[in-house]
Symmetry: C2
Subunit: 300 residues, 2 copies
């Protein structure tokens, strides 16, 4: 039996499926040299996409807001994503789809004239925090030297690769002995962290920032699950005080789901372990991945 | 005689020189999927680099500020850039050097643990505005819907690919019938445009923004040439009023040098052609490219 060359991951690059280690894009693609690009990530769990339609719909809104016109339809994209997962054989996959502005036509710098490109890949599921560490959660700081890129510069609801502020925040977090970072906007409002949304449980009700953050699909799932559990939710603007008033904090991300934040600056939440409400949502979140309304099974 | 396969451009990708059309980078390089990257561009003119040392010094400051450690030394980079130009045979070249954070080591998202990468390429000189249109200059608008990414989010003195705000400003400019755009910061101060610095000549003295803009090498050249010509210069913070009070406006960029802005919103400068002071600096700028202190000749 020969080894599957796609076992480590499969990418789709310009009409061809290639092993992830060989997946390359032109250095002159303005998706790279101008970060003129949008992307989305959908997870598969035990061979099923989770909230595939929601990810595709958000992805479509993103490329439309950037005035892009991908070379394949949304239906074709789903076929390609499915085939990437299928070829790799990976059951728990991190599946990324990308539309770039593409290469400049000869002699032009006018982004309206570019042929946009679509790339995709499936690799093993990525964890922002490994499952064995989910109970102890993450230690974070509110960064002081960096603010989140404001919405009137780069629209955070268009999922993008502008991570300069987020990477900078990580370096500050590491220097301060933390594992990850929460960023504020110029007015001191809580926004998000590198690749995740933030939730605070205050007097039994859940709060998540309204502005300056990605409209995360996992964030939406956490809101949906909270409502199912009869927990009141608030999408609103708030300052750091609310985070310190909270009994539990957690983050949401496709790269790991719902993960507790057990320490923020010097403040420890509860007994420094996943709190009971976070646990309830966490368990429900993973139960929903087995089957149900949000799962699209893949035929391997 | 066989055609030179590098005639359209030559890139250096992981220890190999390749024709520009074949130059590709891994899709998983975080220089792409996180825009965790810095770059610089130096021009060659009639076979000589212009201000090579200044570009290399700025590039070094950029990667250091990002806590990156390129796999080749600055001296080796110069050799690679020279070889890219030499192989291509291009006399007037646009030579780009890039350091990316690189690929994530297995199971990690900690940017401190990545092996950084160096890429480079030389292609024919790019013009933000074609030379035959230099006299009539560019028509621009001050964009209203987008602000420049602030310095405390992403440091603009580290030359970067975070062009989301700049691309957005171009779409607004096109919609308003202009060719290019000038961006303000959140306080309404003038910053820069997509890939260029801005200068205003007011009562015979030159003004350019102090904050929120790249410390352009061509900007520095314009300041140097102005001083040689006995023109007083100011690196300072100012609002749009100064632009409208100016008798001449121009931009500076490696991708074209000194180019007049002859119309801003509805305001036309002079007779809508390159003004006399801009012309003086323009002529001197290109004269300095033939030979002199700033030129490093390449042996083809």
């Amino acid at each position: 039996m020969t080894e599957n060359p796609f076992a480590a991951g499969c990418a789709w690059i310009e009409d061809e499926y290639v092993p992830i280690s060989e997946a390359r894009i032109p250095i002159l693609d303005t998706g790279f040299i101008r970060s003129d690009v949008t992307y989305d990530v959908v997870g598969t769990w035990e061979g099923g996409f989770f909230r595939l339609d929601d990810h595709m719909d958000r992805f479509e809104r993103s490329w439309q807001k950037l005035h892009m016109n991908p070379p394949v339809s949304k239906t074709e994209m789903v076929d390609i994503l499915t085939e990437c997962v299928r070829k790799s054989g990976i059951k728990n996959a991190y599946v990324e789809m990308i539309v770039t502005r593409g290469l400049a036509p000869k002699g032009s710098r006018d982004p309206r004239l570019f042929s946009n490109r679509f790339y995709a890949f499936a690799v093993p599921y990525m964890w922002i925090c490994h499952p064995e560490n989910h109970d102890e959660g993450l230690h974070m700081v509110i960064v002081e030297d960096t603010i989140r890129i404001p919405s009137n510069a780069v629209d955070p609801t268009v999922k993008n690769f502008h991570w300069g502020d987020l990477i900078r925040s990580l370096f500050e977090a590491y220097e301060r002995g933390a594992q990850n970072a929460i960023l504020l906007d110029a007015e001191g409002n809580v926004t998000e962290g590198p690749g995740f949304n933030i939730f605070a449980l205050v007097e039994g009700e859940l709060y998540t920032p309204q502005h300056g953050a990605l409209e995360g699909i996992t964030r939406r799932t956490a809101l949906d699950l909270a409502e199912m559990a009869g927990i009141k939710t608030h999408i609103t603007t708030f300052k750091t005080e609310l985070l310190f008033k909270a009994s539990e904090l957690f983050l949401t991300t496709t790269a790991g789901g719902i993960i507790p934040i057990t320490k923020l600056n010097d403040h420890v939440y509860g007994n420094g372990r996943m709190g009971p409400t976070t646990r309830q949502l966490y368990d429900h979140y993973w139960a929903e991945h087995k089957a149900g309304q949000w799962v699209t099974k893949i035929a391997y």
